[in-house]
C-alpha cells in the first residue's frame, strides 16, 4: 500500500493508494493459494511414491549363517583321507570316520609336513572351494603363542577382523598386567590368549568363529569369512 503526503488547504493529508493496495492483496492471496496448491500436489506425489515403494526388513542375522556353515565344515567327515593317510591320535574316542574338527585338534603345532596337516589342508580346500569357489578365507589361530597362524583360502576378508582381535588381545594383556597376572613370562599368558580368542568379534556379518581344544589343553580358534552364506543353488542342478 502506497502512502502519499499531500498539502491541501494549508494542511498535510495522508492519502493512501487504494488501487495499489488492492492489487498487492490480490497478489498475496494468489501467492498463498499457489503455495497451498503446490503443497497439495507435493503431498499427493509423496503419497503416490510412498505407496509404490516397498521397504524390506533387513533379514541378515549377523554371522549366524556363516557360523552354521563353519560348524557343518568342522563336523563333516574329512575329505581325501585315503590320499593323505592321517594318523588317528585318539582312536578310542569318537566315531570311526575322522572329522575336520579332529584334524584341527591334532595339528596344533608348527609342523606342516605331518600327514594330519596335509589332510587338513586338502580337506579345507576341497570343502570350501566346492561351496564358495574363491570367495572364502579361513585362519586357525592358537592360544599358544609359539604356534604360527595357519591361513587357507583366498582374499583378505579376515585382515580387518584380525585388527579388532589384536586390539582385544592388547586390551586383555593390559588388564591382566594391571591385575598382576599377565606377565608375559608367566604361566597366565596362555589363559589371556585363550580369553582373547573367545572374545573374537563374532557378530560381524559373514564372519564365523569356533573354538577347538588342542590335545595339550590349549585352544585353536577357527576363523572364517565369506561374503555369501549359501551355496549357489545352480550347483545342485
Amino acid at each position: 500500500m502506497l502512502m502519499r503526503m499531500i498539502r491541501q488547504n494549508n494542511s498535510w493529508i495522508c492519502k493512501l493508494s487504494q488501487k495499489k493496495g488492492m492489487f498487492d492483496t490480490v497478489v498475496t492471496i494468489f501467492s498463498v493459494l499457489f503455495l497451498v496448491f503446490v503443497f497439495i500436489v507435493f503431498v499427493f506425489l509423496f503419497k503416490m511414491s510412498a505407496k509404490h515403494r516397498e521397504g524390506a526388513i533387513d533379514s541378515d542375522f549377523s554371522s549366524l549363517n556363516t557360523e552354521l556353515m563353519l560348524k557343518t565344515y568342522l563336523k563333516s567327515p574329512a575329505y581325501d583321507l585315503d590320499r593323505n593317510n592321517p594318523k588317528d591320535l585318539t582312536p578310542s574316542v569318537g566315531e570311526d570316520r575322522l572329522t575336520n574338527a579332529d584334524l584341527v585338534s591334532w595339528t596344533c603345532s608348527n609342523n606342516v609336513k605331518e600327514p594330519n596337516y596335509k589332510a587338513l589342508k586338502s580337506s579345507v580346500n576341497n570343502f570350501f572351494d566346492n561351496v564358495y569357489s574363491d570367495d572364502w578365507e579361513m585362519w586357525i589361530l592358537y592360544s599358544n603363542q609359539n604356534i604360527k597362524r595357519k591361513s587357507f583360502g583366498h582374499g583378505a576378508g579376515l585382515d580387518s577382523i584380525w585388527t579388532d582381535i589384536k586390539k582385544g588381545i592388547n586390551r586383555l594383556y593390559t588388564a591382566a598386567g594391571f591385575a598382576g597376572i599377565g606377565n608375559v613370562a608367566g604361566g597366565m599368558q596362555g589363559a589371556v590368549s585363550s580369553l582373547s580368542l573367545i572374545s573374537a568379534p563374532y557378530r560381524k556379518n559373514g564372519f564365523g568363529s569356533q573354538l577347538i581344544p588342542c590335545q595339550d589343553g590349549t585352544l585353536a580358534a577357527v576363523m572364517f569369512y565369506s561374503h555369501v552364506a549359501y551355496v549357489e543353488v545352480k550347483l545342485l542342478k
Binding site: F46, A56, K71, S76, Y230, V231, E232, V233, L236
Partner: protein
C-alpha cells in the same frame, strides 16, 4: 499512474525468487521425506529366514538330537526324522495358508537325490506352479530357494551332503 503500474509489476518480480525458493525448499523436504518413507513393509525375507532357522535349529525337527544330553546338532540331519510328518508336527499353524517348503537332500556329489520331504505339502504343490511362473496377485506366492552343505546321519554314520530348501510364501 504509469509509475504505479511499473511499481506493482516490479514488486511481483521482487517476490518471484522468494516464491521459487519456497517451492524448491518444499520440494526438497518432500523428496527427502519420501525417499526415506515407505507405507508398505515386505517381511517375506524375515519369514524365510525364521523358517530356515526353525528347520535347522529346532530340537523336534529334522536335525539330529543327542537323546542323552538333549543337545541339537544344527547341520546334522537325522535321516529317520526327514519326513513330512516330523516337519508338519514341528512347525504347525492353526490355518493352512502359511509357509510351505520342500527340502531336497543331495549327496556330496550334488547329483544324487538322497531324499525329499515337505512342510505343508498340499499348499506347496498347489502354489508352486504359480510361484515359479511369477504370477502376481493375492492368490499367488513367492518362492525363495537356498542351499547349504549339511551332514546326514544314516544308521549311526555321518555322510556329507547338500540340503536345498525351497520356501513358498503365500501373498
Amino acid at each position: 499512474m504509469l509509475n504505479n503500474k511499473r511499481g506493482g509489476v516490479g514488486e511481483i518480480l521482487e517476490h518471484f525468487p522468494k516464491i521459487l525458493l519456497t517451492i524448491a525448499v518444499m520440494a526438497g523436504i518432500f523428496l527427502l521425506v519420501g525417499y526415506y518413507t515407505s507405507l508398505t513393509i515386505n517381511i517375506k525375507p524375515v519369514e524365510v529366514e525364521v523358517l530356515f532357522n526353525r528347520i535347522m535349529y529346532s530340537p523336534n525337527s529334522i536335525m539330529y538330537m543327542d537323546n542323552v544330553t538333549g543337545r541339537v546338532h544344527p547341520g546334522i540331519i537325522n535321516l529317520d526324522n526327514f519326513t513330512d510328518e516330523t516337519l508338519d508336527r514341528a512347525i504347525n499353524y492353526s490355518y493352512e495358508r502359511h509357509l510351505a517348503a520342500k527340502l531336497d537332500l543331495y549327496g556330496s556329489d550334488r547329483r544324487k537325490l538322497v531324499s525329499t520331504t515337505y512342510l505343508n505339502k498340499v499348499l506347496y504343490e498347489r502354489l508352486e506352479p504359480l510361484a515359479v511362473s511369477g504370477q502376481k496377485g493375492a492368490g499367488s506366492a513367492d518362492i525363495k530357494t537356498r542351499a547349504n552343505p549339511v551332514i546326514y546321519r544314516k544308521d549311526g554314520v555321518n555322510y556329507p551332503g547338500f540340503l536345498k530348501i525351497s520356501i513358498i510364501i503365500p501373498n
